[in-house]
Subunit: 774 residues, 2 copies
C-alpha cells in the first residue's frame, strides 16, 4: 500500500508538474487495482532512483473559480479484506440506490425570495431551510441505511474550507455547519431539509447523493440540473447583510429598476436604470466576475470581502474586470457611457465573451452595474449621487483652482477638478472586522480613480465613519472623506507666475448626497448621513478626528472677509437656447462698494475639467451700503455650441475686485444644458398576455446633422433590450421606432429609452406602466 | 490674447488626444509670437466652427514617473507693453545671468549621511539644509536682483502638489514648505542653503536657476549633473521615519550587509546577504520600481504609502514588479532562489532591462530586496524570520492536518501547511494614519501569498497591533496575526472518509521570531514584540481582541488530556548521513500506559508542503507511571536521498495510540539536513589599495554527479559580484575558484560565496575581513 500511494502521488504530481489537471480519483483508484499499470510505474521509479524531481510544487494552489470542477468518482471502494473492485451484480441488487433527486425549485424559490430569478435551477438564501425529495429504488430505512448528501464547490473541495459539505441523512453530525434533517419519509420517497449556515460560501454548488455500505460509497451521476445557488440572506438576522425592514429589502434587494440622479445640485436631473439582477444569465455573469477576478472560494462567504473585490472587478484596470472607463469623448470603439440603459446588457456581453472587458463606462455605469452585482448576490445596495464631488485630488482636503492675473481660470495650472456629480454604490452590512458602530451602509466605488491605496477600487468604507471623521479604519475612508469635505482654494497668479491664495470655499464640495426613495421615483436627501451641518461644533470635531487619522487638513488658509458677496443665478436652459445669467452683488457693509467683475464662461465635462473658454466679459457695479445690485450677462447659443462636450455643461467663474478696499471676491457656477427629451407613446392594453405597443419619437431640433445615432429601448420584465441605429438624422428630421411586446408578469414596470450620438448625449425618457393580471 | 490662448490649449489638447507628449512650453510660447503659425491654426478653427471635438479629455492624468520630464522653457516673456520676444543682445549684457551651479556633492553628502552612495550626483535627506554655490556673470545684489531656484520632479510640475518648488533667493516666501537662505555672498559667488521640508516627495529633482527681470524669466539650461536626490531622513525628529538611537540607524539604514536566518527553530542556520543599497545604480533602480508601479509622485512623500506600494512591487504578480516567485523546483528559466547572494544583482538586472521582471525568488529573496529598497530610500528596515509560520491558510486561525486511518499524513486532504520559516521585512515609522500606539516597527511582506485583500502584497501592519490583537486597522493585520498565532488542528479520517479532530496544538506556530542583532552576526529573539507568552492572561485577552476584530477563532475545539506526552528529538544531520530519531514518551499518570506509535517520515519543502512519504514504522512501548521511555528510529540515507527536494527537509509525524484509554497522541518535527559548506581562504594584506586573494573550494561528497552548478562570490565594498559556472562536478571531484580584489575603503567587510545546482541547493559560506587604511 505504501508503494502504491507513493506511485499515485508521484503520478498526480507529474501531471501537475507538466500543467495537466490531476487525474480523476476514479482513474487513480483504478490504478491501484490494475497490476499492470502499477508495475509499469514501479519500473520507471526503479530506473531513476536518484532522481530528485519534486513530487509536488512547494505551494498548494487555491481554488479561485466556481466554474472549475473536481468531483469524486462515482464509486469508491473501502480498504477492507474483501475482493476489490465495484460490487458485482448480485450485491448491487440487494443494496439501496438513488433513482432521482427533485430540487423542488419552484416551491423553494418562493420561500427564499428568489422566485424572480429567471433560471431553472434552485436558488436559495443562507441559513434558511430548503427541501429536496430523493427517490430510492426501495423503502428508505433511517436506522439501517447510510446515506449522505454532498455539496461541492470549485476544483478542490475541502471539508475544512467550506467547499465540501457532507451531510448524513437522518444522522447527527455536530461538527458540520450546514444542517440537515429528514422531513418526511413516504415509502421510497424521502424529503430532506437542508440549511446552509449563515456565513457559508455563496455560489453554485454541485450536489451528490451517496449511498454507503460495507464495500464502499456510490454517488449519483453529476447532473447540472440539480446544482443549487446559495446567496446572501438579508431576511435572516444571523446573516451579516440582514436588513430589519421589509420595505428596505424590497427596494434595495428586490427592485430591479432604479433611478440614477445627475445634472447639478441646483438642477437635479435623472435617468432610469435597468438593474436587471434577476434576468436570465445575470447571476452566472456575476459569479464569472468573481472567477475572472480569481477571488478565492473561501473568501466568498464574507460580504466585506465580496464587496471589496467587486469594487475592483467592475473596472478593467489591474484585473480582468468588467468595464473600461473612458472620459476621452471618443467612444467609437465601443458603446458611449451615456448610451446604456442598464446593467444586464453589459454583464451578459461580458459573460458571453467569457470575461472580455466591455467598452465604455463612466461613474454612473460603474455604480449601476456594481449595484446589480450586489442585489443579484443578495447584498442590499443602492446607487448614490454626490453633487460637487472633489476628485482626483489624491485624498487631501484641497482642490486648487488657479486664476491668471486677469481673473480668468488658468487651465494650464489648474490640475484638480470638482465633479458636478459623482455616483457610487452603498451596500448594507455588518462590518465584523470593525467596531460595531461602523456597521450599516458602506461606500464602494468602482470608478477607476487614484485611490490612496494605489489600486483602482474603493471601499467598503463605513458611512458612519465618514460622518465622524474616523478615517483610520479600512478601506479608503480618507479618499471618500475628501470627496465630501474638501475645500476649494482659489489662487491667483501674478504676471511673474507667483501664486497667492484669493479665497477658500469650504461649502462648495459635497453639497448634496441623494439616492432614490423607496417606492418612489423622487430622491431622498441623505447628506446628513455623511456630514454634520456646515459650521457647527460637531463639524469642527469631525475635522479634528480626521486630522488625528492622518488627513492633511491644509494650512491655516486666509479667509478674507470682504463684507460683500457675489452669487450667480441661471434658470433651466435647453441646449441651443440663448439665456441670461444674473450676478447678484450684496453689500453688507456700511459703505458704498464699487465692484469690477470678470465673468469667464467655459465649456466643462461633468468631471469639472474645463475644456475651452468661450466667453469673458467685464462688468462693473456700484452697490450702496446694505443693498443688492443685479447685473445681467447675456449668453448666446452661438457662443457656446461650437465647443460643447459630452453632457453639455458650462462653468462660469466670476472674479470681482472691490475698488475701495482692494479685496477680491470669487464664485463659480455650473449650468447644465438640458438635452431634448424622447417622446414615449403606449397603445394597447397593459395586461399580462396582451399585445402592447410603444413608439419612441425624436426630432432633431438643431441646425446640424446628428450622425451615428443609437436608440435603445429597455423594458425590464416587459421585453429584452432593443437597439436601433440611424446613420444620420438631418436638421429638423425625425425618427420613430415602434416596438411591440407581450407582458408576462403583472405589476409596476418601467419602459425606458435612450438616444445617443457623438454630438448629442443622453437623450432619454421613461414611462411607468401598471401591468394588470391576465 | 484670448484667441491665442485658446489656440494653444487646443493645440496641446490635440497632442494629448492623439497620444503625443504635450509640446514644450517654449515652443508653444514661440507660437504666440509667430504670426504665420498663429494664422495657420486660426484658419483651421474657422474652417471647422461646428466641430465638437473635446479640447481635452474629461480626466487630467497624474504624474506617476520620476523619469518623465516636462521642463519650462528657458525664456518666458511677460505680457507687458513692450516689444515681444527674447531680449536683444544689449539688454542681455546689462542683465544678471548664471555662469555655473556647484552642487557641492562631496561636502553635502558627508553632512547628510549619504556619502556611501556611489553616485556623482548630490543626494540629500529631507529637512536638513544643503548648500550650493551659484556663480553669476557679475556681483549679486540681494536688494535689486530677482533670482529664483526651481526644483522640479516628473512630467507635470505643480506648485500645489509639491512637484514644483520655487524658492526666491534672498526673499521671503512664507507659503512654500521648502526653505532657502543666502548663506554667503562673495562678489559674483552666492552660497545658497536649501532645506526640503520634512514630508516632501522623495526622488530625483531637476534644478534650475531663474533670473527674473521686467521682460521675463531666463532659466539655466537643463543639466542632469545638477540633479539632486532627496531621501527620507531617519536622523531628523520631524521626519516620520526618525529613529532615536544612532546605533539603530547604523544597522537599519547604513549597514549594507546582513544575515538572513533559516533552517528550523531548534536548529537555526543562516546566510549572509548583500543588501548593497549604496551600490552604483541601485538608487535609480529603486526609483524605477516606483515608476514602473505607476506610484503617483505626490504619494512619494509618505513612508506609509511608499512601503505599501513597495510590498506589492517587489513581486511580479499584478504589476510590473521586480521578482517572479517560484516554488516549483524547476528554475531552469532563471536563477534559482537559493543561488542569489544579494539584492544589487537583482535590482540592477531589473533596471538594465528597463523594468523587466527577474526570475526567481522565494521568501528570503523578496525580504532581502525589499530591505534594500527601504534602506536605499532612507527608511529603517530589517529582515525578520518567523519559524513555523502558518501560511496560505486564508487568514483564519487554523491549519488543518489530516491523518488517514493508519495515522499517516493524508496528503490529498491536507491542503494547509506550516512553513518551517518565513522571512518578511520590518520598517520603522510613525503611522500618521493610525492611533499613535501603532507607530514603530511595521511588517511588510512581498512574498506573493493569498492575502485577505486579494492582491499580492501585505502591510504595513503595526507590530504593536499584532501583539495586542487589534486587527481592525490597516493593512492586512489579520493575515500577519494568523501567521504567528494559528492553531495546528490534527484530524483523522476513518475508512469512510469521515473526519474527527484528534488534537489541537496551540504552540506550534510562530515559535520564534528573530532578526540580526546590531553590530553582531548573532540573532536577536524578538518573539516578545509580536506575542505575549503562551497560556498567560494577556494572551487570552489578545485572542479576545482578535475575535472582536473579526478574526475567526475556530470553534471550541476538544483538547483531550491524555496525561501522556510524546516528543521527537534529533541531532544536527548532514545531507547523506544516516541518523537516529529519539521518541520520548512521558507518562504523567499514575497508571502504566501502553503506546502504539506510527512514525511517518516525509520529504518536505521549506513551505511545509509534503512531497513524498519515504518511511513508515510502527513501534510500541510500555511506560510505567511517572516514567519516560525513549524509542529510537533509525533513518538511513538511502531511504530519503532519492526523494530530497530543495532545502532538504524531512518531516516526521508520530501518531500514538494509548491502549488503556483509547486516546490519541500526535506530534511532528522537521529535521533540516545540512548541506556541505564552501571553504573560503584569503591571502594577501587586507588593506586599502593592496591586492587581496580569495579562493573558494568545494568537493562533491556524494556518489552522484552535480550538474549545472553556479558559484557566486560577492563582496560588498570589496569587489563586484562574480559568477562562475561548472557544467558538472563528478562524485568526489572538487573545484577551486580564485578571485583577486583591491579593497577601496577601510572597515569591516564581508565576502560571501554560494554554490547552487538542481541536486544541491544553498551551499554557502562567508568570511568577515577588517580592511585597514592605506
Amino acid at each position: 500500500m505504501l508503494l502504491s500511494s507513493r506511485i499515485r502521488r508521484k503520478h498526480e504530481a507529474l501531471h501537475e508538474h507538466i500543467g495537466l489537471e490531476p487525474p480523476h480519483l476514479s482513474r487513480t483508484s483504478t490504478l491501484l487495482h490494475t497490476p499492470q499499470a502499477s508495475r509499469h510505474l514501479v519500473y520507471i521509479m526503479l530506473l531513476q532512483p536518484n532522481l530528485t524531481l519534486p513530487s509536488v510544487s512547494g505551494r498548494i494552489p487555491f481554488a479561485k473559480s466556481n466554474l472549475d470542477e473536481y468531483n469524486p468518482s462515482e464509486f469508491v471502494a473501502f480498504d477492507v479484506l474483501r475482493p476489490r473492485g465495484p460490487p458485482d451484480q448480485e450485491t448491487q441488487a440487494a443494496s439501496l440506490s438513488v433513482l432521482s433527486v427533485d430540487m423542488r425549485a419552484t416551491e423553494n424559490k418562493k420561500d427564499h425570495n428568489t422566485h424572480k430569478y429567471v433560471s431553472s435551477n434552485l436558488i436559495v438564501r443562507r441559513n434558511k431551510e430548503f427541501t429536496i425529495i430523493i427517490k430510492f429504488n426501495r423503502d428508505f430505512n433511517k436506522q439501517q441505511d447510510n446515506v449522505e448528501l454532498e455539496f461541492l464547490i470549485g476544483s478542490s473541495p475541502d471539508e475544512n474550507k467550506g467547499t465540501y459539505i457532507i451531510l448524513p441523512i437522518g444522522k447527527e453530525k455536530p461538527e458540520v455547519r450546514w444542517k440537515s434533517r429528514v422531513v418526511e419519509t413516504q415509502g421510497n420517497y424521502v424529503t430532506v431539509g437542508v440549511t446552509p449556515d449563515a456565513s457559508c460560501i455563496i455560489g453554485r454548488f454541485r450536489i451528490f447523493v451517496v449511498v454507503v455500505n460495507d464495500l464502499g460509497k456510490r454517488r449519483t451521476t453529476r447532473n447540472t440540473e440539480t446544482d443549487v445557488y446559495v446567496l446572501f440572506n438579508p431576511w435572516d438576522p444571523a446573516d451579516h447583510v440582514y436588513m430589519v425592514k421589509d420595505e428596505d429589502r424590497q427596494e434595495y434587494v428586490m427592485n430591479d429598476v432604479g433611478i440614477i440622479y445627475n445634472g447639478e445640485f441646483s438642477n437635479i436631473t435623472y435617468r432610469s436604470w435597468n438593474f436587471g439582477q434577476f434576468e436570465q444569465g445575470v447571476l452566472d455573469a456575476c459569479l464569472l466576475v468573481l472567477d475572472s477576478g480569481k477571488v478565492p472560494l473561501f473568501f466568498r462567504g464574507s460580504a466585506t470581502e465580496i464587496v471589496r473585490q467587486a469594487s475592483a472587478l467592475m473596472n478593467a484596470q489591474d484585473d480582468d474586470g468588467v468595464l473600461v472607463g473612458n472620459w476621452s469623448g471618443d467612444y467609437a470603439e465601443g458603446t458611449a457611457p451615456t448610451a446604456w440603459t442598464g446593467s444586464p446588457e453589459i454583464l451578459l456581453k461580458y459573460a458571453k465573451k467569457s470575461g472580455e472587458t466591455v467598452c465604455f463606462a463612466q461613474c454612473w455605469v460603474f455604480a449601476g452595474v456594481l449595484n446589480t452585482f450586489m442585489r443579484c448576490l443578495g447584498i442590499p445596495a443602492r446607487v448614490i449621487t454626490n453633487f460637487c464631488s472633489a476628485h482626483d485630488n489624491t485624498g487631501n482636503l484641497k482642490t486648487d483652482i488657479v486664476l491668471d492675473e486677469e481673473g480668468k481660470v488658468d487651465q494650464s495650472r489648474t490640475k484638480d477638478s470638482v465633479w458636478n456629480y459623482h455616483c457610487w454604490t452603498e451596500v448594507y452590512m455588518k462590518r465584523l472586522d470593525l467596531p460595531e458602530k461602523f456597521s450599516g451602509w458602506q461606500v464602494i466605488d468602482s470608478t477607476p480613480q487614484e485611490t490612496s491605496d494605489g489600486f483602482y477600487r474603493c471601499g467598503p468604507t463605513s458611512v458612519n465613519a465618514i460622518k465622524e471623521g474616523e478615517l483610520s479604519y479600512p478601506f479608503d475612508a480618507k479618499f471618500v472623506f475628501a470627496e465630501l469635505n474638501s475645500d476649494v482654494v482659489f489662487h491667483r497668479s501674478d504676471k511673474e507666475g507667483k501664486m497667492k491664495i484669493l479665497h477658500v470655499d469650504t461649502g462648495y464640495v459635497g453639497k448634496l448626497v441623494v439616492t432614490k426613495k423607496h417606492g418612489s421615483s423622487d430622491y431622498e436627501d441623505i447628506t446628513s448621513t455623511y456630514k454634520y451641518p456646515e459650521k457647527t461644533v460637531k463639524e469642527r470635531e469631525v475635522m479634528q478626528n480626521a486630522e488625528r487619522s492622518g488627513m492633511a487638513i491644509g494650512d491655516n488658509l486666509p479667509k478674507p472677509e470682504a463684507g460683500v458677496t457675489i452669487e450667480l443665478q441661471a434658470d433651466t436652459v435647453k441646449i441651443g437656447d440663448d439665456f441670461k445669467l444674473t450676478l447678484n452683488i450684496n453689500n453688507q457693509t456700511s459703505k458704498t462698494s464699487t465692484v469690477n467683475a470678470t465673468i469667464t464662461g467655459c465649456v466643462a465635462f461633468y468631471t469639472g475639467v474645463v475644456s475651452m473658454t468661450f466667453k469673458t466679459e467685464n462688468k462693473a457695479a456700484t452697490v450702496e451700503a446694505s443693498k443688492t445690485e443685479s447685473l445681467t450677462v447675456d449668453v448666446n447659443a452661438k457662443e457656446y455650441t461650437p465647443y460643447l462636450v459630452e453632457q453639455a455643461k458650462l462653468l462660469f467663474v466670476v472674479y470681482g475686485h472691490i475698488v475701495e478696499t482692494d479685496m477680491s471676491l470669487i464664485t463659480m457656477k455650473v449650468v447644465t444644458l438640458q438635452p431634448p427629451k424622447l417622446t414615449l407613446t403606449m397603445s394597447g392594453t397593459p395586461q399580462v398576455g396582451k399585445d402592447l405597443m410603444t413608439s419612441v419619437d425624436f426630432q432633431n431640433p438643431y441646425n446640424f446633422i446628428l450622425q451615428n445615432v443609437q436608440l435603445r429601448i429597455d423594458g425590464p420584465g416587459l421585453m429584452p433590450i432593443k437597439i436601433k441605429s440611424y446613420s444620420q438624422i438631418l436638421p429638423g428630421g425625425s425618427v420613430r421606432y415602434k416596438v411591440s411586446m407581450v407582458p408576462r408578469t403583472p405589476g409596476k414596470k418601467v419602459l425606458m429609452a435612450c438616444l445617443d450620438c457623438p454630438l448629442l448625449r443622453q437623450v432619454t425618457n421613461q414611462v411607468e406602466i401598471e401591468i394588470l393580471k391576465s
